[in-house]
């Protein structure tokens, strides 16, 4: 059924040519900023972070390109499989995961520890995109048609909440919501969910863990407990503020290098960057992120199939949420929820997840003219 004229056969060479290399350059630039910050965090040493991060990135770039060249229909075909595999891993974490940093997040596969909640962010997007790819415009408005997608969102969210990992749970839920929004679910339904969530907040409060409650309370008034839970955010703001317009210079941030700033190589790396490079450096990084997000949105809009549009839009939103939640958290706009800065923070699973995500986005761009039918067949309708 393939039409050689309308959809020219995409050879590997053609695919590689049509890859959005500019986006990869942007991603690599941000990652390089990360390497520099990890080098600084280690007092001018490639160890223990920068070198490993570089190797991971190199590997992840490879994975990204492979993902990008895989035919988008294959992703559609395996969307549910991947989703349920990730869901199964989340259950496995619940049963057999080991506890790190006070939460059960990791699953040891012997040679590598993986964080199923990270994979879920991508695979949920795939599953929802597949679901809505199959839905006709008229079906989207139907209430019953909302049951499956909401179940797809709720199941992993609850499992992740139980780990407990509030930040990731919120991100998973919001990513899912974003896909539903892009698919065209009515706005008033979102408003309803929002109102419902507000109403349920006092009840949810009861289910929060002590440390989660403490983080929220600390956010509301960090000076309450300056040496305890409020310490992170106070020190982070001091570091940011003292960085000023131009910053203290590379490897010169006293707050970071004198260890006043906690976890500077992971969640608080943006603070360190803004201390050393000032407002100028912070804004520059935000601009880079904004460019990546913009590319993602453009790729999504340009795609000619709904699956590709939703995948690119959803993954881009996930990426954006990482950026926003992390920076808002270290600048004291929202509570500390433990979300890393994408591509910059030290960490293997997040890096891999993000690069798979970007692979999908680029893949959507590469395969933007590939026709995807309601059931994933080559020719739609």
């Amino acid at each position: 059924m393939r039409s050689g004229l309308s959809t020219p056969e995409l050879t590997l060479g053609r695919k590689l040519i049509s890859i959005n290399w500019l986006l990869i350059l942007l991603i690599s630039t941000v990652a390089a900023v990360g390497f520099a910050m990890l080098y600084s965090a280690a007092e001018g040493s490639l160890n223990p972070w920068a070198e490993r991060q570089m190797l991971r990135f190199a590997f992840a770039v490879g994975v990204m390109i492979v993902v990008a060249t895989v035919n988008i229909r294959i992703w559609l075909r395996y969307a549910y499989v991947l989703y349920f595999m990730a869901l199964g891993l989340l259950v496995a974490v619940e049963v057999a995961g080991y506890v790190g940093m006070g939460a059960q997040r990791w699953l040891s596969l012997g040679f590598v520890n993986i964080q199923p909640s990270e994979l879920m962010k991508i695979f949920l997007v795939l599953a929802l995109a597949r679901y809505y790819n199959a839905s006709a415009i008229e079906d989207i408005g139907s209430i019953t048609r909302l049951i499956v997608p909401i179940a797809l969102i709720i199941a992993p969210t609850i499992l992740i909440l139980r780990q407990p990992d509030l930040g990731t749970a919120i991100m998973v839920a919001m990513t899912g919501g974003a896909v539903l929004f892009l698919a065209g679910v009515r706005l008033w339904k979102f408003a309803l969910v929002g109102v419902g969530a507000l109403a349920a907040a006092p009840i949810a409060w009861q289910f929060l863990h002590g440390y989660q409650k403490k983080r929220v309370l600390t956010f509301l008034n960090p000076e309450n407990d300056p040496l305890g839970a409020g310490y992170h955010i106070i020190q982070s703001k001091i570091a940011l503020g003292s960085g000023g317009l131009m910053g203290k210079g590379f490897m010169q941030g006293p707050q970071s290098h004198l260890h006043f700033l906690p976890e500077m190589q992971t969640d608080f790396i943006f603070t360190m960057l803004a201390e050393e490079f000032g407002l100028v450096g912070g804004l520059a990084l935000i601009v880079l992120y904004a460019l990546i997000v913009t590319y993602g949105i453009i790729i999504a809009i340009k795609s000619r199939n709904q699956f590709g549009r939703l995948v690119a839009g959803g993954v881009t939103t996930t990426f954006f949420l990482y950026v926003f939640i992390n920076i808002a958290m270290v600048t004291g706009l929202i509570p500390v929820v433990g979300v890393p800065l994408p591509l910059v923070s030290y960490g293997g699973t997040v890096m891999l997840t993000l690069m798979i995500g970007f692979g999908l986005v680029i893949g959507v761009g590469v395969h933007r003219d590939v026709p995807v039918g309601r059931r994933g067949e080559a020719e739609g309708l």
Partner: protein, 650 residues
């Protein structure tokens, strides 16, 4: 080629909305960054500096105390202490390390408990002191074993050292740890291990000796570990305090006194410089700095010879016969007696029903003023005291500064007591009795003086009636204070003729065959001594004992023996030195106190060129009329039965 234009249109619209939302949120982040990094930048910059910059005080070295010739009396010595940095002890428990250390230096059980506690409490890089004041051999043994003792280091601190130990302890005082009530705005006081002067010169000149603290700004990390020094402001070291003391003389006196419980004060009559002030027995100031055990402390407190009290300024004694010069001057001034007028001494003096005895049982016969002083006739002074009245005697004593503390630059000075009618009415609500005047005439009864006051009185007699004041401080940080020449000192307006009689009589006490201290002349050409003996009983002699024969001092327990006193000056012409000697329960003034005074003044004479002291012009004219007689008749003042008070001890 869009196969589902509706879905695409919806998606595009929604994607644009989402992108708009994202743009708003990213703009909010940029605004937040602008707020933190530009608007609030100064506030956070200050906070960041407060975070990382620690101001550390640097203790200034305490000023030295030196004697008049520059010999150090209090200095700072290196104090080696053994410290342990817990984080450098890798892979072994603290108890293991201590067991190892135990083989080299001894640690008590309480030391070990303290060390373990401090190691647990502090961060691992904070050194914990294992032992202070290491001896040289301990330092050497630790250094030799250093490779086997990781984490151990020897730290050099400063501690106060008093090279002369007990010999000048009462003058110098000591330093001790800061107590709660010492704390004021000086931040130095809060430094751990800081010492403040607790007694003596160390206390009086504490602020000068202390200096001002420097500071060092250091950058610290979040755990308080020092990273580097940012800036340093040196403090002002404590000023050096030069005393008027001649430590050589002081040492000699301490040695000369031996085991006696006694005080000796030597003063320069021209300017009030205190050349020596010895209170015996003493304590070692170094022990206080080191810290006394409760046993050692109890021993000091319970010692009946009161080593902790500076007897020279805080011991009050009946001056006994040494007070007779005051009585004579008062009587001459009032005109109740002329120098040549004789009074008969039968050995007894009756006033109403009371009977007062002269120390010479059968009396001196007719004596004039000169003879009365020379032979220390009591009856003569009973009579002239009665004629003069207590208030006139007190007025003269007041001129000599005996009614109040002399104001010497030492803490804890007592003032003694010069009684008056008003005083008795005010404090006891009783009228004055004439018998009390009579007994005051021989320096007993209510009259009390400190040895320093006795020396001051003598100095003011010897320098022609100039109101010098005693002091120990010669210079602080090189700035000399106080009058240096007698002409700077106001006169007390005592008629020179009266003073001449008194000083000539004092000359005869030592240098005339009838004098009570005739065996104590110096024997040095041009450096004769003048003086006055005193013997003060400290027990009541009953009538029965007096009839059966008064027991000799040697037969009595130590604390019932008489106090031996002597005041004197030398040389007789152009005097320079005044001295007071008080030997508690020492027996007789002439047998015990006068020889000490003689030996001390000879030593002072021999030391006159010991250093860059004040030039002195001695009268080298040979003196005549010096007696070589060794007549061993009883001298000094024997016990007298007194109407109301026989105790003379401080």
């Amino acid at each position: 080629m869009n196969r589902d234009p509706d879905r695409h249109k919806i998606f595009t619209r929604r994607a644009a909305m989402l992108a708009g939302g994202k743009a708003v949120l990213l703009t909010a982040l940029c605004g937040r960054l602008y707020y933190l990094q530009v608007v609030e930048a100064d506030r956070y910059a200050t906070l960041a500096d407060e975070n990382r910059i620690n101001l550390r005080l640097l203790a200034p070295p305490r000023g030295r105390i030196i004697d008049r010739f520059g010999r150090p009396l209090a200095e700072n010595q290196q104090n080696y202490r053994l410290q342990l940095v817990p984080e450098d002890v890798k892979g072994s428990e603290i108890e293991e390390v201590l067991a190892h250390v135990q083989k080299i230096v001894t640690l008590t059980e309480s030391d070990r408990r303290r060390i373990v506690r401090e190691v647990r409490r502090n961060r691992a890089f904070v050194p914990v002191t294992l032992k202070e004041n290491l001896s040289w051999s301990e330092v050497a043994r630790i250094e030799i074993n250093a490779p086997d003792l990781p984490g151990l280091m020897i730290d050099v601190g400063r501690s106060r050292r008093y090279p002369y130990g007990p010999e000048a302890a009462h003058v110098l005082g000591y330093v001790a740890a800061v107590s709660e009530k010492d704390l004021d705005e000086d931040p130095l006081l809060k430094l751990p291990g800081f010492r403040v002067g607790r007694a003596g010169i160390e206390k009086v000149h504490d602020l000068d000796l202390r200096g001002t603290g420097g500071s060092s700004e250091v950058e610290v990390n979040a755990f308080g570990r020092m990273i580097r020094e940012l800036s340093r402001r040196e403090g002002q070291p404590g000023a050096e305090v030069m005393l008027t003391l001649d430590m050589g003389l002081q040492e000699y006196i301490a040695k000369r006194l031996g085991q006696e419980s006694a005080s000796v004060v030597v003063m320069d009559v021209r300017n009030g410089d205190v050349l020596a002030m010895v209170s015996n027995p003493s304590y070692d100031s170094n022990d206080f700095n080191r810290g006394l055990s409760s046993g050692e402390w109890q021993q000091l407190v319970n010692n009946e010879r009161s080593p902790l009290i500076n007897k020279s300024i805080a011991g009050v004694y009946s001056p006994g016969s040494t007070f007779k010069m005051m009585v004579l001057l008062a009587a001459l001034e009032k005109g109740v007696i002329s120098p040549d007028q004789k009074i008969h001494c039968s050995g007894e003096y009756e006033l109403g029903d009371a009977k007062f005895h002269c120390w010479k049982r059968h009396g001196h016969g007719f004596v004039d003023a000169m003879e009365a002083i020379t032979e220390s006739c009591d009856v003569y002074f009973y009579e002239i005291a009665k004629r003069t009245g207590i208030d006139r005697i007190a007025a003269t004593a007041r001129k000599f500064g005996l009614d109040a503390p002399t104001g010497i630059d030492l803490p804890g000075e007592q003032g003694g007591l010069i009684p008056t009618r008003d005083w008795k009415r005010a404090t006891r609500d009783e009228p004055w009795h004439q018998g009390e005047t009579v007994i005051a005439g021989i320096g007993q009864g209510f009259v009390l003086l400190t040895p320093l006051q006795m020396a001051l009185m003598t100095a003011r007699l010897a320098n022609g009636g100039r109101a010098i004041t005693p002091h120990l401080t010669r210079a602080i940080g090189g700035n000399a204070g106080g009058p240096r020449q007698p002409s700077d000192v106001p006169s007390m307006n005592i008629p020179p003729g009266h003073l001449g009689i008194v000083t000539e009589a004092m000359d005869r006490v030592v240098n005339h065959p009838t004098g009570t201290a005739r065996r104590s002349e110096t024997g040095i050409e041009g450096f004769p001594m003048a003086g006055k003996t005193g013997t003060v009983q400290v027990r009541r002699i009953s009538k029965l004992e007096r009839e059966q024969g008064v027991r000799k001092n040697e037969d009595l327990p130590w604390k019932y023996r008489d106090h031996a006193l002597f005041v004197g000056f030398a040389p007789v012409e152009n005097p320079r030195y005044a001295i007071s000697v008080v030997v508690e329960h020492g027996g007789g003034g002439s047998s015990t106190a006068a020889p000490i005074a003689r030996d001390v003044l000879i030593e002072a004479y021999n030391r006159r060129s010991a250093g860059p002291g004040l030039p002195i012009a001695y009268d080298d004219r040979p003196r005549n009329g010096k007696s070589e007689t060794a007549d061993a008749s009883s001298d000094g003042q024997a016990p007298t039965e007194v109407a109301d008070r026989g105790e003379g001890g401080g």
